[in-house]
């Protein structure tokens, strides 16, 4: 299967600031890929490079088989782009904007448009400048979905929205874009955990990891073990153990390459016989916190 998005050694520098640092990334067709990371990590920058809104300093990116630098004009008939930062034509009415955009897309689905207007409760006769932020995002989403794009790119679509609007947007997105590949950036981990199939973690311009959410959840465990004899942390702990600490006779750490038998064998090698071992699955938020703290301490 061809990747819908592929980035190789993608780099973007603003003078001394390296916003993207040799990022390699692949997003497969049909995936809901969530790019997460703290503020200033480079999420918007990578999306702008992929959308050819800015040019990379080095490296290449391909979107739907096209070199990102060549994406313009008719290429956008296959890409729906929604960003919290986009400046809409405030003077237009909602209905006028939809009618105007309708003519640009050969694949525009009038029924889908009507369905989205109804589902997202868009006020057709209101001017865009009179809409709330949430309404503007809904309008942007409706206009990005109504032409059946192959790829939907959303830059921080849920930021600052109330939970109800967020749910409406996610529902709209999942119900109406079943055939599309979705690539979105967010720092709201709890939200994306519910619907993303893949996740990438970007921090300080570097892509720390990028994988399927199920495999990510499977390879991270919090391990809590009770030692037979109270002692210090061993210096022989493997690198995959994150945030290790000891309190009394109890050792806690996050295993980032969890396989039950191998992890148990590693514990026995490092600590010898233990009284008790408990493995607990982690939420996406806990996984990212563990990884982020490791990066910070590094």
């Amino acid at each position: 299967m061809n990747p819908v998005i592929r980035a190789e050694q993608l780099t973007k520098r603003y003078r001394r600031l390296c916003a993207l640092d040799r990022v390699n990334l692949e997003v497969q067709e049909g995936a809901v890929f969530a790019l997460v990371g703290p503020n200033g990590a480079g999420k918007t920058t990578i999306i702008k490079v992929l959308m050819n809104l800015i040019e990379p300093t080095a490296g290449t990116a391909q979107v739907l088989g096209m070199e990102s630098r060549k994406i313009r004009g008719s290429a956008y008939t296959s890409i729906g782009y929604v960003s919290e930062n986009q400046e809409a034509p405030e003077w237009m009415r909602v209905s006028a904007l939809l009618a105007y955009l309708r003519e640009f897309y050969p694949t525009w689905d009038k029924d889908l448009e009507s369905g989205l207007v109804k589902q997202l409760e868009l006020p057709l006769e209101r001017k865009i400048k009179e809409l709330s932020r949430g309404m503007k995002m809904k309008l942007a989403l409706a206009s990005a979905l109504a032409f059946h794009p192959k790829l939907i790119v959303l830059d921080e679509p849920f930021g600052g929205l109330d939970p109800l609007v967020r749910d409406q947007l996610i529902e709209g997105l999942l119900e109406r874009a079943t055939d599309a590949t979705i690539f979105l950036s967010s720092h709201d981990l709890a939200e994306i955990e519910t619907f993303a199939s893949h996740v990438g973690y970007l921090d300080e311009g570097k892509l720390r990891f990028s994988e399927e959410l199920t495999s990510l959840a499977a390879r991270f465990r919090e391990v809590e073990l009770t030692l037979e004899i109270e002692g210090e942390l061993s210096s022989q702990m493997p690198e995959s153990w994150l945030q290790a600490n000891v309190s009394g006779g109890v050792v806690r750490f996050v295993e980032s390459r969890f396989e039950e038998q191998i992890t148990a064998a590693e514990i026995a090698r490092v600590f010898g016989p233990v009284k008790d071992v408990v493995f607990r699955t982690l939420t996406l938020r806990e996984i990212f916190l563990a990884v982020a703290k490791k990066e910070q301490s590094a």
């Binding site: 800015i54 008939t77 986009q86 400046e87 003519e103 640009f104």
Partner: protein, 519 residues
């Protein structure tokens, strides 16, 4: 085409108030052009801007404003615009903007221009090509730069700032070029002039197109700045003196179309010579004896260069300065003005020097000469257009004609006319032959809004040109008096030789030339 029309329709819906204002102002402009002597609208603040003299500049400003606004509808600066990630095709977007300007500015203006031609008594069909050429030139000097300005800015405030920067750049360039010796005769450097014009127009055209195609704002701004720097550099480095001397080859006095001699300043009747110390430039009044202009010809002094040979063997010259002085067969003397900086003047004013002058001359021959009787009221003339005697100035004929005044050499001999004029305390009728002159203008450049140009053919009495202001004795001005039924001789000026002559006078001081014009 569908996308072009979509964008065009969207822009028309958005900008209808500006379109209506533009059309209304165009209507007012046409009204003023057709009724130039009507009472003014009012003296209120808004009324002032609707007066005849303001309406054309207001109209031009509004068109530029409208162009920038329409371009800003899909701003090309930045990466947050909603339309950038929509399937806009750049050339269709640009075409839609051009279509908008054609539909709401070009077409209404075209119709008004045809109506103005028709109303002035000129047929429309033979002049459609000229009107279209006017529109093309207006598009090049107004709309193209406005599109470029709009495409490189994201708000009206930025556009205004950009316009101010352009204006300051033009002022700085003009100042810099004025410091280059002989740059006043820059029109002689035809190749650099053509290169600069081409560079200017092409850079603006490429900038607007490139910005639409790629939205590389800083690169495009850099391109324009580079073109500006290149134009200034060409201006500064052009050897204007060489161009003047090449265009006006030096000829021997015997071959010159007129003979000249510098009159010694002590022959000047002006005794109270003084210069105004607070003015940065000092004008030297150079009196010349002239003779031997062939009958049926006229010699135009296009430029003058003065060189001072100092007693220590050094020479000094501020280079060529432009002139526009006509010399007719009857003329026996003329005065030329030559400006030098006060600093230079103060250095040499008391030194006894040798003054050398070079004059760049063009000879014109009157061809296709014919007699024309001045009519009562309005009268038509194939070459002049529609004319009438100027009711406010008896020495002049006012005419209107499509696009540009004709090249003209005209004579009026009052002895053959019966134009009685009562002598007053201040004026007496001119009894000698007088002349009028309109330079031939090339067909290519027709600027402005109104295709009907008005011009005046003024016959100047010979003495009027050499009026001596500080002579306090009661004098009467000789005035040419035209009247209906009088015959004037009209001819087309045929440009002949361009030559340069040298004159010199020894043992003079600059301060002796700072008097006023010679009688």
């Amino acid at each position: 085409m569908k996308q072009i029309l979509l964008i065009f329709r969207k822009d028309a819906i958005r900008h209808w108030p500006e379109i209506l204002i533009s059309l209304a102002l165009l209507g007012i402009y046409a009204y003023w052009e057709l009724h130039p002597k009507m009472p003014t609208a009012s003296y209120s603040f808004t009324g002032i801007f609707l007066r005849e003299e303001f309406i054309a500049p207001v109209l031009v400003f509004l068109w530029s404003f409208l162009t920038v606004r329409v371009v800003h509808g899909e701003s090309l600066v930045g990466d947050r615009q909603w339309w950038v990630t929509k399937p806009y095709v750049w050339w269709k977007l640009l075409a839609a903007k051009v279509l908008f300007l054609l539909a709401f500015v070009g077409l209404p203006l075209f119709l008004v221009q045809l109506y103005l031609l028709h109303n002035s008594g000129f047929p429309i069909l033979p002049h459609i090509g000229g009107v279209l050429r006017m529109q093309l030139i207006l598009a090049t000097i107004l709309f193209l730069p406005s599109i470029a300005l709009g495409s490189l800015t994201r708000s009206l405030a930025q556009a205004l700032l950009g316009a101010v920067i352009v204006l300051l750049g033009a002022i700085a360039a003009s100042y810099l070029i004025a410091q280059v010796p002989s740059s006043a005769m820059s029109s002689t450097a035809e190749t650099p002039d053509a290169v600069q014009t081409l560079l200017l127009v092409a850079s603006i055209w490429v900038a607007a197109t490139w910005q639409y195609a790629r939205r590389k704002t800083w690169y495009t701004r850099g391109l324009l700045f580079g073109a500006y720097a290149a134009i200034v550099l060409i201006s500064v480095l052009t050897p204007y003196q060489k161009y003047v001397e090449k265009k006006y080859p030096l000829v021997d006095e015997r071959e010159a179309p007129a003979h000249f001699a510098i009159l010694s300043p002590n022959m000047d009747t002006g005794k109270n010579r003084r210069s105004l110390d607070f003015i940065s430039d000092v004008s030297l009044y150079l009196s010349l004896a002239v003779s031997d202009v062939a009958p049926g010809r006229m010699v135009l002094v296009n430029g003058i260069k003065a060189t001072i040979d100092l007693p220590d063997g050094h020479s000094w010259s501020p280079g060529w300065k432009g002139q526009w002085l006509t010399i007719w067969p009857e003329d026996d003397g003329e005065s030329l003005l030559y400006e030098v900086t006060r600093k230079d003047y103060e250095r040499f004013k008391t030194s006894t020097v040798r003054l050398r002058l070079e004059l760049a001359l063009t000879e014109y021959q009157a061809i296709a000469k014919r007699q024309s009787l001045l009519g009562q009221g309005k009268f038509s003339d194939a070459a002049l257009g529609v004319c009438q005697l100027d009711p406010l100035n008896h020495s002049a004929i006012k005419c209107v004609r499509p696009f540009r005044p004709p090249g003209l050499m005209a004579d009026f001999d009052p002895s053959g006319a019966n134009c009685a004029m009562a002598e007053s305390d201040e004026e007496v009728p001119e009894l000698d032959l007088s002349h009028a002159w309109l330079p031939p203008i090339g067909d290519s450049f027709v600027s402005g809004i109104n295709p009907v140009t008005d011009f005046s053919i003024s016959f100047l009495a010979k003495t009027k040109r050499s009026y001596l202001p500080q002579d306090t004795s009661p004098r009467k001005l000789r005035v040419v008096h035209l009247c209906p039924g009088a015959a004037v001789s009209l001819a087309r000026p045929l440009e002949g030789r361009k030559v340069r002559v040298k004159l010199e006078i020894d043992g003079v001081r600059l301060q002796d030339f700072t008097g006023s014009l010679r009688d």
